[in-house]
Symmetry: C2
Subunit: 350 residues, 2 copies
């Protein structure tokens, strides 16, 4: 199946031209049009023959007899992997827009939300950013504060500067001494621990130790550790979505049926989480059409990158569009955005 890597020069150029043209027009490309706009030095008939070969290889297809050719997913894949010329320059206006972020102090979520909007405006596609996962971070500080009778607030801060908190209802009141003790004890035990090392076993052993030392209600500790676990698991990690309406600009989604399917996914944060979980932690990846596991996404491409906060927490940033996508620009923009986003958040955190 790796025949394509040996594509001779002219076939390469023709495929490249077809894909470029199709990305611009969203129309099937015919041999005559191609011969006229590009100068291959051969006639349309020859191009026709080449195109027929490319079709046999599965890189092109015809929507129907007597229409021009359209790239297949495989064609796009080959384009992205081999043919495409990468844009190395990042537009000046991007850098300028970024300045704003440094001034803002709206917290991590504000930054991500702003970045979502910006990326979607730059690419003119729908954009998706996940909050940084905390799994790989370690705990910098954790504190339980009593905020009212039978109400505690657990605050957790990681070394990447992410804050998480949770209100805790308990049945019996806790004395402030007791709480102080628990705080000290937990601080000691949890300091600098990696979050993903805190499993059920860990908590059980903690509990045993704590019970030995102090006459603390077992029930109370159970609640605390249970809640701590919940905070840590990224089950309800927020996903930021922007530029949904750009989808409507794409001619391939003029078909309401398709549109519905895709919007149904985007509509629901649960589905988005699902979608993001599917994506392996690559620095930069492109999922083209059928390569997506979720049914409704099989007519879309996703260009995504993983952004890093130091060496720890990571999140995803991605762009969703039709398989006919402006890959060079989008890839370069997403790549850059991931880089910048990591930097900005890291600065806020530290």
């Amino acid at each position: 199946m790796m025949v394509e890597h040996e594509l001779e020069g002219r076939k390469r150029e023709i495929l490249k031209a077809i894909i470029r043209e199709h990305i611009l027009t969203a129309e099937p490309i015919g041999s005559r049009t191609l011969a006229k706009t590009y100068d291959f030095g051969v006639s349309s008939a020859t191009i026709r023959n080449e195109m027929s070969d490319l079709e046999d290889m599965g890189l092109l297809k015809q929507p129907h007899t007597s229409a021009g050719r359209v790239p297949t997913d495989k064609g796009y894949r080959y384009y992205v992997d081999v043919l495409m010329e990468h844009e190395s320059k990042h537009p000046k206006n991007l850098q300028r827009s970024l300045a704003r972020f440094y001034e803002d102090k709206k917290g991590i979520q504000g930054i991500i939300s702003g970045m979502t909007r910006m990326l979607s405006q730059l690419t003119e596609y729908t954009t998706l950013i996940s909050e940084p996962e905390m799994q790989k971070s370690s705990i910098k500080k954790m504190e339980i504060v009593k905020v009212a009778a039978r109400t505690l607030l657990v605050v957790l801060i990681t070394d990447s500067g992410i804050v998480n908190n949770k209100i805790l209802k308990i049945n019996h009141d806790v004395g402030s001494r007791e709480l102080e003790y628990i705080n000290k004890f937990l601080s000691n035990k949890l300091q600098d621990k990696e979050l993903n090392s805190l499993d059920q076993d860990f908590f059980t052993s903690l509990e045993e130790e704590l019970i030995k030392r102090i006459d603390i209600s077992r029930k109370l500790f159970e609640i605390i550790s249970e809640e701590l676990e919940k905070i840590i698991t990224p089950a309800d990690m927020r996903i930021f979505l922007g530029g949904t309406s750009y989808i409507l600009e794409q001619p391939e989604f003029n078909d309401l049926e398709n549109l519905k399917k895709v919007l149904n996914i985007l509509d629901n944060e649960e589905n988005l989480r699902e979608l993001i979980k599917e994506l392996p932690d690559e620095d930069l990846e492109v999922k083209i059409g059928q390569e997506n596991k979720i049914e409704a996404m099989k007519k879309c491409s996703i260009v995504y990158a993983t952004y890093h906060l130091g060496d720890n927490a990571v999140g995803k940033i991605g762009v969703i569009g039709p398989t006919r996508m402006q890959y060079p620009q989008v890839i370069s923009t997403v790549d850059f955005a991931a880089d910048i986003l990591g930097q900005i958040i890291s600065k806020v955190g530290r």
Copy 2:
């Protein structure tokens, strides 16, 4: 303009029938159809005359000659205000679904997010819920915690149980004594204060007093009070949106132009905030078509209610659909949902 209130019986019944029928079919309603499906005891010709009168009053209109009639915004308004029969019963399955919420302990945002999804599923329209505004709440507890060198965490808890926190970067380090003092001082001063009474003047006077008592860096206090103000202002109050894709089910949005306009509003949280600000604090209100101030919404209706947390914080909960909307069901559902939402959140908070 209040002529309509004296609409004679038959005209009322005909208008009601037309609106009902149109809500179901989304088609213009003709006199013959009406005469056949409803039994008014008169012929289609008579109905035709009545319809003509109703059109003169601005309650109906014809999309074109020789089409049936369609209700105008004014017609719907009259329907909602006068003709409509309210559904008083709340469906059993709603009550059942609610049980789930009580078990969840995902915090206020989780509850709202869940409620958003539920309401959109029940009504089959797009749903919108705003976080409770804190303006009218008072402060129950506020505490500044030092989480790292030159990093403070401000935690604020209101009497309606809303927690807000913010990370604070400062230039110089603060001693823990200093902090303790500030905490005590602020606790005293802020306890039970209403949030909307905390204006610039208040902070200035606080500052003066504090400076007298302790040798605290003026700069530090400025930062703290500034940030406190930011926490309080609802500038970036979150809006939860659900069921966007239901819009696609509505035949009136088969026109891509319309659809784009509306989705553009929904796409952007900023716009949604704008939208919600437009809505006065009524217990339950319906904005029909042209009554909406935002251009893109002039083909939509919004049914919304204000939900309460005790007597204090309030938020909005609403449903967006075409002007041809299932008003009776939606109104009753939104009303009920607002009620329930207030209750649930209050319980979590207390």
